[in-house]
């Protein structure tokens, strides 16, 4: 169940144009180069991994200091709060510029994933890990979850970007770019509620 959740969330992030694959396609189109697209996706995944792993580490570190209940309640409150803020805020994440180096691209992805609360979405899983085992387990388990999650994200992003670049073209964006931000905000609130309910 937990593993499936982790992978599905990864797939969901991979599917979201705002989280990376679209930038990879754009970079490919800039130079009409599939290589450039293929170089971009791992860097975007790397930034995503860093964002998610950071949350895992924070949970593990916090977990060694406080009880599992406090962690779950705190995590749940953070999720609900962040979700509501995403839902109600009219701002969007900004990063100017289209000509980024690969490392800047990883940095962009880190910020984009963090701003969208990618790691926070996994909070219920991370706090669950902590509740089950000892702190050491929580660190390695948390990083493992982050890695698996990112792998799923990477796979889906690649699976979307290549056909869009090669065949479909970007006109598909006009109809298929569902407002995942808004759905995402609702999901964050739900995840927070679940975490709180488990306490």
């Amino acid at each position: 169940m937990t593993l499936a959740t982790v992978l599905l969330l990864g797939a969901f992030h991979g599917l979201n144009p705002a989280m990376g694959w679209l930038f990879a396609v754009a970079r490919g189109l800039q130079e009409r180069s599939m290589d450039r697209l293929l170089q971009s996706i791992p860097m975007i995944a790397l930034g995503h991994l860093a964002s998610v792993a950071l949350v895992a580490l924070v949970v593990a570190a916090t977990g060694s200091l406080v009880t599992g209940t406090v962690l779950s309640v705190g995590g749940g409150v953070v999720l609900v709060g962040f979700g509501l803020w995403r839902l109600l805020s009219r701002r969007h994440f900004r990063w100017v510029g289209m000509r980024l180096s690969l490392w800047q691209l990883a940095g962009w992805s880190f910020l984009m994933s963090s701003a969208h609360g990618a790691g926070l979405m996994l909070l219920p899983v991370f706090t669950g890990l902590h509740a089950e085992g000892h702190p050491g387990h929580a660190v390695s388990g948390g990083l493992g979850v982050a890695a698996l999650h990112t792998l799923a994200m990477f796979g889906v992003a690649l699976a979307v970007a290549v056909p869009v670049y090669r065949v479909a073209g970007l006109a598909v964006l006009r109809r298929a770019w569902f407002n995942v931000d808004r759905m995402w905000a609702v999901a964050l609130v739900a995840a927070g509620a679940i975490t709180l309910a488990q306490v």
């Binding site: 930038f23 189109l29 800039q30 100017v96 510029g97 289209m98 006109a171 006009r174 109809r175 407002n179």
Partner: protein
């Protein structure tokens, strides 16, 4: 509120945008030269199947007087799809309408209504305090905000002019865009090569050089603008200036290629002080630097002195006065307004280095006063000035006023008010479309914006 799917008027690429449906409405900025009545946004029906086709169907007075509406733009456009800061679920809904003389910036809601409705006014003090500018002009919807160029400095300072950034949801002035302006002082138009992080700006003059009319001594002294400036859009710093030569006075409207993989664009130069000709220049990036080359030259037309206003009588000729130009979304056609001689020219620019003239229509003009075919008996003053192309490239719209104080010098009897539409395939006037005279209620029409976007409103991140 945001949408669940992207705004249908956003297109990833120029070729997608060229397939957009035809516009049903056109918004036209109209101003009162006497500044005694409010300026207005006039809304024209552009749907040929509508009984009201070619007439003014909506009208919104501004809240104050003396704004002198000139150019305006949308709160959001196709650049919202750019992958670096995507926000595709906002709506293209608000018109951002600066008063060039008053320095007030007005925000109008166009959704589900014909006549736009005022939702916010940014006072000149806010623009001055936050950005240090006055006389706002061009508006472009950028990847992370609204960019508004301004001709003058704040607190009575003449300059430097530059660009202010507005938040594109709250419409508050965020601040001055430039971090390092280098030698740039004069400002007018700007646009960008969005995919290469390049911004281009042009030069007109400071407020005192334009607001009371064209100053002959300054023109002959070659003091108006004659340079292009190239900037790093991300770092907000000046990169290079390109001087067209000081005889080429006033490079105004900038029309970069819509194809985001191409680094070239066109700029019109109002007049040469050597022979009163007008010209169009191509900028391009070659050998690691920005360059510009004259690719179109349009000579002055000799005319009898009694047909000329005092400002031109010593010269015995009518300068073409290229004051606006428009590049089709597919980058294949360039339309050039000759406001002095009363002519609109069509060029094939599929090879941008070698434009080929395809056609020309005459209407108005200082000496000719050519009529519109819809009313062959009516001599027209003013000339084709602001020119806008539909996204599919099939229709061109023109209006006839340049700028109040300058209208008066070149057309001392007034320019009247008219708008025309040209079908580009045949390159002839549409005789069913000719709002003029009282249709504009005594105001003078300037820039046209087409519902859903047009050739000068959107930039694209994908080829």
């Amino acid at each position: 509120m945001t949408r669940w799917t992207p705004d249908p008027t956003f297109y990833p690429s120029p070729s997608d945008a060229a397939g957009a449906p035809a516009e049903k409405l056109a918004y036209v900025a109209a101003f009162d030269r006497a500044a005694s009545r409010p300026d207005a946004l006039a809304v024209i029906d552009t749907d040929p199947s509508s009984p009201a086709y070619g007439t003014v169907v909506g009208w919104t007075d501004l809240p104050g007087t003396g704004d002198e509406l000139h150019h305006f733009g949308w709160n959001a456009c196709s650049s919202a799809l750019c992958p670096n800061a995507p926000h595709p679920h906002v709506e293209r809904r608000y018109l951002v309408v600066p008063g060039l003389r008053s320095s007030r910036i007005h925000i109008y809601d166009t959704k589900d209504r014909i006549s736009p409705e005022l939702v916010k006014v940014i006072e000149p003090e806010e623009l001055a305090r936050r950005a240090g500018y006055s006389r706002p002009h061009t508006v472009h919807c950028g990847p992370e905000g609204l960019y508004v160029s301004a001709l003058g400095g704040a607190d009575g300072r003449e300059g430097p002019g530059g660009i202010a950034v507005l938040d594109h949801t709250s419409f508050e002035v965020v601040g001055q865009w430039e971090l390092d302006r280098g030698p740039q002082y004069l400002a007018y138009d700007f646009w960008w090569h969005i995919n290469q992080d390049v911004l281009i700006s042009s030069e007109w003059g400071t407020p005192s050089m334009i607001e009371d009319g064209l100053v002959g001594e300054l023109l002959l002294g070659r003091k108006y603008g004659h340079k292009l400036h190239f900037w790093d859009l991300r770092k907000r710093t000046h990169v290079q200036e390109v001087d067209l030569g000081d005889e080429h006075q006033m490079p105004l409207e900038l029309r970069p290629a819509h194809d985001p993989t191409r680094l070239y664009g066109f700029v019109g130069v109002v007049t040469s002080v050597e022979d009163l000709s007008a010209s169009v220049w191509l900028w391009f990036h070659e050998d690691g630097r920005w360059q510009a080359r004259k690719v179109i030259s349009i000579p002055a037309e000799p005319a009898a002195a009694d047909l000329l206003p005092p400002i031109l009588q010593p010269f015995g000729a009518v300068p073409p006065l290229v004051t606006d130009l428009a590049l089709s979304v597919d980058d294949q056609r360039l339309y050039v307004s000759c406001w002095g001689t009363g002519e609109l020219k069509q060029f094939d620019v599929s090879d941008p280095y070698r434009p080929v003239e395809l056609g020309s229509v005459r209407v108005g003009g200082i000496a000719r006063r050519s009529p519109h075919p819809a009313e062959p008996g009516l001599a027209l003053r003013g000339g084709p000035q602001m020119v806008e192309v539909s996204r599919d490239g099939r229709r061109v719209y023109v209006t006839n006023s340049l700028y109040g104080a300058w209208d008066d010098q070149f057309y001392p009897d007034g320019v009247g008010a008219w708008m025309a539409k040209i079908d580009t395939d045949s390159f002839t006037f549409d005789t069913r479309f000719f709002p003029h005279g009282d249709a504009f209620r005594g105001l003078r029409p300037h820039q046209v914006r087409l519902q859903g976007g047009d050739a000068s409103s959107d930039s694209y991140c994908y080829p």
